[in-house]
C-alpha cells in the first residue's frame, strides 16, 4: 500500500496513468498488428506475395540506402518543426484561455478543435483550397497582379502549415489542461521577488507545466512523423515524406515486407522520442506533490 502511494506520487506514474487508455488502445489496434508487422519485416516479398524466408535485408535497405535515410531525415525535421510551431502558437492561446477565459474557457478550447468535426481529408483539402496554385491565397495575389507565392504551393512548407493546423488542437488542449492545475499566484510571488514576466515564465510557469507540454509535444510529434495524407495533398511530388514512401510499399510496389520493416523503424523512432521526453520529466522536479491533481 505504502509503495503504491509512493508510486502514485511519482511523475512517471502520472505520465503512465495519463497514457494508459491510449496504451490499451494501442495494444489492441497497434501492438498486435505491430507484432505481425515485426514478423513480416523479417520476411521478403515476391510478386505481391509474402514469403516466410527469414532475413534482415529490409533493414539493410532502410538503414543503408541514402534515399530512405533522406526521407527519414525529412520527416524528422518536419516533426520537430511542426511540434515547435505548434508549441509556440499553442502556449499563448492555452495560457490566455486558462487565465482569462472565465466561464467561456471550455467552449474556447473546444473551438480550437472545431476543424476536427469534419475529418482529415476534408480539412486537408480545405487547406489545399487556400494554399494551392488555384487556392484562395495565390488566386487573390494574382488577381491583384502579384506573383503567386511558390513556397506555399506543393512544398514541404505547405505540408508543415497543414500539419500544424491539423495537430495544434492537441497541443492547446494538453497545455490548457496543465494550466488549469497551475496556481497563477506563484507568478505574483515571482514578480514581487523581482522577476520580470518573461523570467517568471521561464522559472515558474514553464517547469511547472512541463508534463502537460511534453504530452502535447508527443501528441503532435508522432502523427507528424508518420504523416502521409497531408504531405500527399499539400506537399506535391517533391514533398514526399517517410510516411509516403512507407505507404507506397503497401500500395503501388506491393513490397509488404520492406514496408513492414519501415513501419518497425518508424515505431522505434517514436519510441526513442517518447523515451527522451520521458527522461526530461524524470529529471525535472515538476513540482507535483500529489496534492494538486
Amino acid at each position: 500500500m505504502v509503495s503504491f502511494w509512493k508510486l502514485r506520487q511519482s511523475p512517471n506514474f502520472r505520465f503512465a496513468m495519463l497514457t494508459l487508455p491510449g496504451a490499451l488502445f494501442l495494444l489492441i489496434f497497434l501492438v498486435l498488428p505491430l507484432i505481425s508487422i515485426l514478423i513480416f519485416s523479417f520476411w521478403r516479398t515476391e510478386s505481391y506475395q509474402l514469403i516466410a524466408d527469414w532475413n534482415i535485408e529490409n533493414y539493410k535497405t532502410i538503414l543503408g540506402q541514402k534515399t530512405y535515410l533522406t526521407f527519414m531525415w525529412r520527416s524528422l525535421v518536419m516533426a520537430v518543426s511542426v511540434s515547435l510551431v505548434c508549441l509556440i502558437y499553442a502556449y499563448p492561446v492555452a495560457y490566455l484561455v486558462a487565465k482569462r477565459g472565465g466561464r467561456y474557457r471550455l467552449i474556447l478550447v473546444l473551438l480550437t478543435a472545431a476543424p476536427f468535426f469534419t475529418g482529415i481529408i476534408l480539412r486537408v483539402t480545405a487547406m489545399q483550397q487556400i494554399l494551392g496554385p488555384i487556392g484562395l491565397l495565390n488566386m487573390a495575389l494574382q488577381t491583384f497582379g502579384f506573383e503567386p507565392i511558390q513556397i506555399l504551393m506543393y512544398s514541404n512548407v505547405a505540408s508543415a502549415i497543414g500539419l500544424v493546423y491539423l495537430w495544434i488542437p492537441f497541443m492547446v488542449l494538453a497545455i490548457y489542461l496543465s494550466l488549469l492545475n497551475f496556481n497563477f499566484e506563484l507568478l505574483e510571488v515571482a514578480y514581487v521577488n523581482g522577476a520580470k514576466p518573461w523570467r517568471a515564465f521561464l522559472e515558474i510557469t514553464w517547469p511547472l507545466n512541463w508534463i502537460g507540454t511534453a504530452i502535447g509535444i508527443v501528441l503532435v510529434f508522432i502523427p507528424t512523423f508518420a504523416a502521409f495524407v497531408t504531405p500527399r495533398f499539400l506537399g506535391g511530388v517533391n514533398g514526399a515524406l517517410y510516411g509516403n514512401i512507407l505507404e507506397h510499399q503497401f500500395g503501388a510496389t506491393g513490397t509488404w515486407a520492406l514496408g513492414s520493416a519501415m513501419g518497425v523503424v518508424l515505431f522505434f523512432i517514436c519510441l526513442i522520442f517518447i523515451m527522451i521526453i520521458w527522461r526530461t520529466i524524470n529529471l525535472q522536479r515538476s513540482g507535483y506533490t500529489g496534492e494538486e491533481f
Partner: protein
Amino acid sequence: MSAALPHHLTSLQLRDIAMTEPALKLEQVEKSFDKVRAVDKVSLEVNTGEFFSLLGPSGSGKTTLLRIIAGLETPGNGTVHIGGRDVTRLPPYARGIGMVFQDFLLFPHKIVADNIIFPLKMQRLPEDKQKEQLNWILSLVRMEGYEDRYPHQLSGGQKQRVALARGLVSRPDILLLDEPLANLDLELRKEMEVEMRRFQAELDIPFIYVTHNQEEALTLSSRMAVMHNGKFEQVGAKLDLYNNPKTRFVAAFLGSPNYIQGQIKRMEGTIAILDWRGLDLRIPAPANATSGDKIDYFLKHERILIQSLRESEPAKGENRFEGTLRDIIFKGQHSAYFVVLENGEELVVNAATEMPSLKIRHAVEVGWLPEAGDAFLKEED
C-alpha cells in the same frame, strides 16, 4: 575640485532626503472592484524599523491595500511612495519589496535553498554572495540543514520560515505580510509571533503586517491601523488605539468589550447619566450628546472590578451594581466571570483566577469608573 563640490553636496542632500522620508507613504489611495470600494482614500506613513499592523475584519480591504503597495493592483487614485520614491506606476518587480503570503506560496519545484535565493537570483547577485546571504538567513530563521528539501517535505511552520526567509533575504525596503500565521496552529503561531518580532528587530526592516486577529496585532506591532469597509478607522500606537478608541467601530472591535445600550436621562457636566434598562449608569458624555440621545457604551472586560458584596466602598463617581455570578470560565492566569445584574443584563469581567470569595450563584458586586468605557452616539442603521 570646485566643480565637483556641488555634485557632492547634491548627492549628500539626496541621501538626507531619502533618510528622512518615511519607508512607506500612501496618499489618498483608492481601489474599486466593480461597485465595491475595496480601499477608500487611505493615507499612511510607516517609518523604518516600525512593525505596523493592519487590522480589520474579513473583507475590509487589507489584502487589497497590501497588493497595491506590492504593485499587484494599481490604485484607481492616489500615490504610493517607498523610501521616498514614487512607485505608483512601477510594476512589482521594480519595487524592491518582500512579501509573505498566507498560504506560503513556495515554489513547489524548487528546493528550499532555491526558493530562498530566488530574489537574489533575480537581482543577479554573484553566486558567492547568494550563498553567503542564504547561510545568513537560514541561521536567522533556524532552518539550517533543510536547504535540499522540497517544500512538500516541510511542515507548515517550516514552510512559513522558508517563506519569511525568501521575503527577507534581499533585505527589502519593506516586508509585506498577509496573514502569515493564519494557517498555523495556535502553539506554532505563538512561537512564530516571537520569531517575527525577533526578525523585525534584528533586521530593522519595516514590517507591514495584515491580520484579522487583534491579539496578534496587539502583541506584535508598535503601531497599527484598524480598517473597516476600505477605510482607516483609526491609526496610531497600539495602546492608544486600545485605550482611546476614536470611533465606535474601533471601540466595539478591540478587546471584544461588553456592549451596553441606553438612553441619556440627564447631563452632569462631562458625565451623562444613562438609563440602562432601569439602572442609572454614569458614562463620559460623547461630544454633542444631549438628554434623550441613544448611546452605545463599550466596556472592556478587564476594566471592571469584581468582589463579594461590600468588600470595599465605591470611589467617587464610580458605577456600582449588585448581581449574581452565573459562571466562571478558567483561562489560566485570568478567568472570565459572568455576572447577571438586577436589570437582567450580563457583564463579562476578566479578573485574577484566585478569588476564593467568589462563588457561582452567589451575589457579587461589580464596579467601574465612567471613563473605563467608551461611549458613542448610537449610529442610525
